[in-house]
Amino acid sequence: MLPEVYFLRYAFPCARVLVDFRKTITEKEYEDMQRAVEEDRPLSRDYLEKIFFKAFEGMRKIDDDCWNVRTIREYFCEGHEDMLSTDLPPTIRRLCVVRPGKLVKEIKGFFKADLQDGDVRIVSALYKEAKVGDTAMVHYGYAVERIE
Protein backbone atom coordinates (compact mmCIF):
# COMPACT_ATOMS: atom_id res chain seq x y z
CA MET A 1 0.00 0.00 0.00
CA LEU A 2 1.19 3.52 -0.75
CA PRO A 3 2.48 5.16 2.44
CA GLU A 4 0.37 8.26 1.64
CA VAL A 5 -2.79 6.12 1.70
CA TYR A 6 -1.69 4.22 4.80
CA PHE A 7 -0.77 7.42 6.66
CA LEU A 8 -4.11 9.07 5.92
CA ARG A 9 -6.06 6.10 7.29
CA TYR A 10 -4.33 6.44 10.63
CA ALA A 11 -4.37 10.25 10.67
CA PHE A 12 -7.89 10.90 9.38
CA PRO A 13 -9.53 10.23 12.79
CA CYS A 14 -7.68 13.34 14.07
CA ALA A 15 -8.83 15.53 11.17
CA ARG A 16 -12.01 16.73 12.87
CA VAL A 17 -9.83 18.41 15.50
CA LEU A 18 -8.05 20.30 12.72
CA VAL A 19 -11.37 21.74 11.53
CA ASP A 20 -12.92 22.49 14.92
CA PHE A 21 -9.96 23.28 17.10
CA ARG A 22 -6.79 24.14 15.24
CA LYS A 23 -8.81 25.55 12.33
CA THR A 24 -6.01 24.67 9.94
CA ILE A 25 -8.32 23.01 7.43
CA THR A 26 -11.76 23.94 6.12
CA GLU A 27 -14.90 21.83 6.15
CA LYS A 28 -14.44 21.39 2.38
CA GLU A 29 -10.87 20.12 2.81
CA TYR A 30 -12.13 17.74 5.49
CA GLU A 31 -14.75 16.35 3.12
CA ASP A 32 -12.19 15.91 0.38
CA MET A 33 -9.91 14.14 2.82
CA GLN A 34 -12.74 11.79 3.76
CA ARG A 35 -13.32 10.96 0.09
CA ALA A 36 -9.58 10.36 -0.36
CA VAL A 37 -9.63 7.84 2.50
CA GLU A 38 -12.69 6.07 1.09
CA GLU A 39 -11.19 5.90 -2.42
CA ASP A 40 -7.63 4.98 -1.32
CA ARG A 41 -6.54 8.10 -3.19
CA PRO A 42 -3.09 9.38 -2.17
CA LEU A 43 -2.84 13.04 -1.16
CA SER A 44 0.48 14.79 -1.73
CA ARG A 45 3.25 14.34 0.83
CA ASP A 46 3.71 18.12 1.07
CA TYR A 47 0.05 18.59 1.92
CA LEU A 48 -0.05 15.79 4.50
CA GLU A 49 3.16 17.00 6.15
CA LYS A 50 1.76 20.52 6.39
CA ILE A 51 -1.64 19.49 7.81
CA PHE A 52 -0.45 16.76 10.18
CA PHE A 53 2.85 18.38 11.14
CA LYS A 54 2.65 17.08 14.71
CA ALA A 55 2.50 13.49 13.54
CA PHE A 56 5.51 14.02 11.29
CA GLU A 57 7.49 15.52 14.15
CA GLY A 58 6.82 12.30 16.04
CA MET A 59 7.53 10.07 13.05
CA ARG A 60 10.86 11.75 12.31
CA LYS A 61 11.94 10.99 15.87
CA ILE A 62 11.52 7.31 14.97
CA ASP A 63 13.08 7.50 11.51
CA ASP A 64 14.18 10.58 9.59
CA ASP A 65 13.10 8.81 6.41
CA CYS A 66 9.57 8.37 7.73
CA TRP A 67 7.59 7.74 4.54
CA ASN A 68 7.18 4.02 5.01
CA VAL A 69 4.47 1.80 6.44
CA ARG A 70 6.63 0.54 9.33
CA THR A 71 7.37 4.02 10.72
CA ILE A 72 3.80 5.20 10.24
CA ARG A 73 2.48 2.18 12.13
CA GLU A 74 5.04 2.52 14.92
CA TYR A 75 4.23 6.19 15.37
CA PHE A 76 0.45 5.82 15.53
CA CYS A 77 0.39 2.61 17.56
CA GLU A 78 3.10 3.64 20.04
CA GLY A 79 4.15 7.29 19.74
CA HIS A 80 0.84 9.03 19.13
CA GLU A 81 -0.14 8.79 22.79
CA ASP A 82 2.58 11.31 23.67
CA MET A 83 0.78 13.97 21.60
CA LEU A 84 -2.25 13.91 23.85
CA SER A 85 -2.81 16.49 26.53
CA THR A 86 -1.97 14.98 29.92
CA ASP A 87 -4.95 16.83 31.43
CA LEU A 88 -7.40 14.77 29.43
CA PRO A 89 -9.85 12.63 31.38
CA PRO A 90 -9.28 8.86 30.95
CA THR A 91 -12.23 8.08 28.66
CA ILE A 92 -11.13 10.73 26.20
CA ARG A 93 -7.51 9.66 26.33
CA ARG A 94 -8.54 6.12 25.51
CA LEU A 95 -10.46 7.36 22.47
CA CYS A 96 -7.39 9.05 21.04
CA VAL A 97 -4.92 6.26 21.73
CA VAL A 98 -4.70 3.75 18.87
CA ARG A 99 -5.30 0.22 20.12
CA PRO A 100 -6.80 -3.10 19.05
CA GLY A 101 -10.51 -3.80 19.19
CA LYS A 102 -12.71 -6.64 18.06
CA LEU A 103 -15.55 -5.98 15.63
CA VAL A 104 -18.41 -7.77 17.36
CA LYS A 105 -21.49 -6.68 15.42
CA GLU A 106 -22.36 -4.96 12.16
CA ILE A 107 -25.12 -2.34 12.30
CA LYS A 108 -26.21 -0.30 9.27
CA GLY A 109 -22.78 -0.47 7.68
CA PHE A 110 -20.94 0.43 10.89
CA PHE A 111 -19.42 -1.82 13.51
CA LYS A 112 -19.67 -2.19 17.23
CA ALA A 113 -16.06 -2.52 18.40
CA ASP A 114 -15.10 -4.00 21.76
CA LEU A 115 -11.79 -2.63 23.03
CA GLN A 116 -12.19 -4.39 26.40
CA ASP A 117 -12.39 -2.81 29.85
CA GLY A 118 -15.94 -1.71 29.02
CA ASP A 119 -14.79 0.45 26.11
CA VAL A 120 -17.37 -0.30 23.42
CA ARG A 121 -17.74 2.05 20.47
CA ILE A 122 -19.46 2.40 17.14
CA VAL A 123 -16.80 2.69 14.46
CA SER A 124 -16.54 3.21 10.72
CA ALA A 125 -14.17 0.81 8.97
CA LEU A 126 -11.53 2.54 6.87
CA TYR A 127 -10.40 -0.69 5.24
CA LYS A 128 -12.24 -2.77 2.67
CA GLU A 129 -13.90 -6.06 3.51
CA ALA A 130 -14.15 -5.37 7.23
CA LYS A 131 -16.30 -8.02 8.90
CA VAL A 132 -17.52 -9.21 12.27
CA GLY A 133 -14.78 -11.20 14.01
CA ASP A 134 -11.94 -8.99 12.76
CA THR A 135 -9.48 -7.60 15.23
CA ALA A 136 -8.57 -4.13 14.02
CA MET A 137 -6.50 -1.18 15.17
CA VAL A 138 -9.03 1.37 16.37
CA HIS A 139 -8.38 5.11 16.42
CA TYR A 140 -11.18 7.25 17.84
CA GLY A 141 -14.33 6.15 15.95
CA TYR A 142 -12.55 4.32 13.13
CA ALA A 143 -11.26 0.82 12.49
CA VAL A 144 -8.04 1.56 10.62
CA GLU A 145 -6.69 -1.83 9.56
CA ARG A 146 -7.15 -5.49 10.32
CA ILE A 147 -4.44 -7.09 12.43
CA GLU A 148 -3.62 -10.75 12.98
Partner: protein, 68 residues
Protein backbone atom coordinates in the same frame (compact mmCIF):
# COMPACT_ATOMS: atom_id res chain seq x y z
CA UNK B 1 -1.39 19.02 21.91
CA UNK B 2 -4.52 17.39 20.73
CA UNK B 3 -7.98 17.44 22.22
CA UNK B 4 -11.09 15.71 20.94
CA UNK B 5 -14.26 17.50 21.92
CA UNK B 6 -17.45 16.00 23.36
CA UNK B 7 -20.89 17.47 22.73
CA UNK B 8 -24.19 17.42 24.61
CA UNK B 9 -27.37 15.92 23.19
CA UNK B 10 -30.08 18.58 23.21
CA UNK B 11 -32.68 16.91 20.99
CA UNK B 12 -33.47 13.42 19.71
CA UNK B 13 -35.80 12.73 16.81
CA UNK B 14 -36.01 9.08 15.80
CA UNK B 15 -32.38 8.10 15.26
CA UNK B 16 -31.05 11.62 14.80
CA UNK B 17 -29.56 13.50 17.73
CA UNK B 18 -28.86 17.22 17.80
CA UNK B 19 -25.60 17.84 19.58
CA UNK B 20 -24.44 21.08 21.05
CA UNK B 21 -20.78 22.15 21.13
CA UNK B 22 -19.33 25.42 22.33
CA UNK B 23 -20.26 27.72 19.46
CA UNK B 24 -21.80 25.09 17.19
CA UNK B 25 -24.66 22.62 16.87
CA UNK B 26 -24.49 19.47 14.77
CA UNK B 27 -26.56 16.42 14.00
CA UNK B 28 -25.42 12.84 14.36
CA UNK B 29 -27.05 9.45 13.88
CA UNK B 30 -27.57 7.05 16.75
CA UNK B 31 -26.52 3.68 15.35
CA UNK B 32 -26.88 1.66 18.52
CA UNK B 33 -27.28 2.15 22.26
CA UNK B 34 -29.52 4.11 24.61
CA UNK B 35 -29.10 7.86 24.55
CA UNK B 36 -31.11 10.63 26.12
CA UNK B 37 -31.15 14.40 26.18
CA UNK B 38 -28.34 15.67 28.39
CA UNK B 39 -25.90 12.84 27.56
CA UNK B 40 -22.40 13.81 26.51
CA UNK B 41 -21.13 11.99 23.44
CA UNK B 42 -18.34 11.78 20.90
CA UNK B 43 -19.19 11.90 17.23
CA UNK B 44 -17.26 10.90 14.14
CA UNK B 45 -18.37 10.75 10.52
CA UNK B 46 -21.81 11.95 11.63
CA UNK B 47 -22.39 8.94 13.90
CA UNK B 48 -22.33 8.77 17.69
CA UNK B 49 -19.27 6.78 18.74
CA UNK B 50 -19.89 6.55 22.47
CA UNK B 51 -21.16 8.23 25.58
CA UNK B 52 -18.82 9.72 28.16
CA UNK B 53 -19.50 10.51 31.81
CA UNK B 54 -20.66 14.09 32.37
CA UNK B 55 -17.83 14.99 34.75
CA UNK B 56 -15.23 13.87 32.21
CA UNK B 57 -17.00 15.78 29.46
CA UNK B 58 -17.06 18.98 31.48
CA UNK B 59 -13.41 18.58 32.38
CA UNK B 60 -12.43 18.04 28.77
CA UNK B 61 -14.38 21.10 27.69
CA UNK B 62 -12.36 23.05 30.25
CA UNK B 63 -9.11 21.67 28.86
CA UNK B 64 -10.35 22.65 25.44
CA UNK B 65 -11.07 26.20 26.63
CA UNK B 66 -7.60 26.50 28.14
CA UNK B 67 -5.80 25.62 24.94
CA UNK B 68 -7.98 27.74 22.66
Amino acid sequence: MCVAMPGKIVKIEEDTATIEYPGATREAIIIDGDYKIGDYVFVSSKIIVMKIPEEEALKSLEVWKDVT
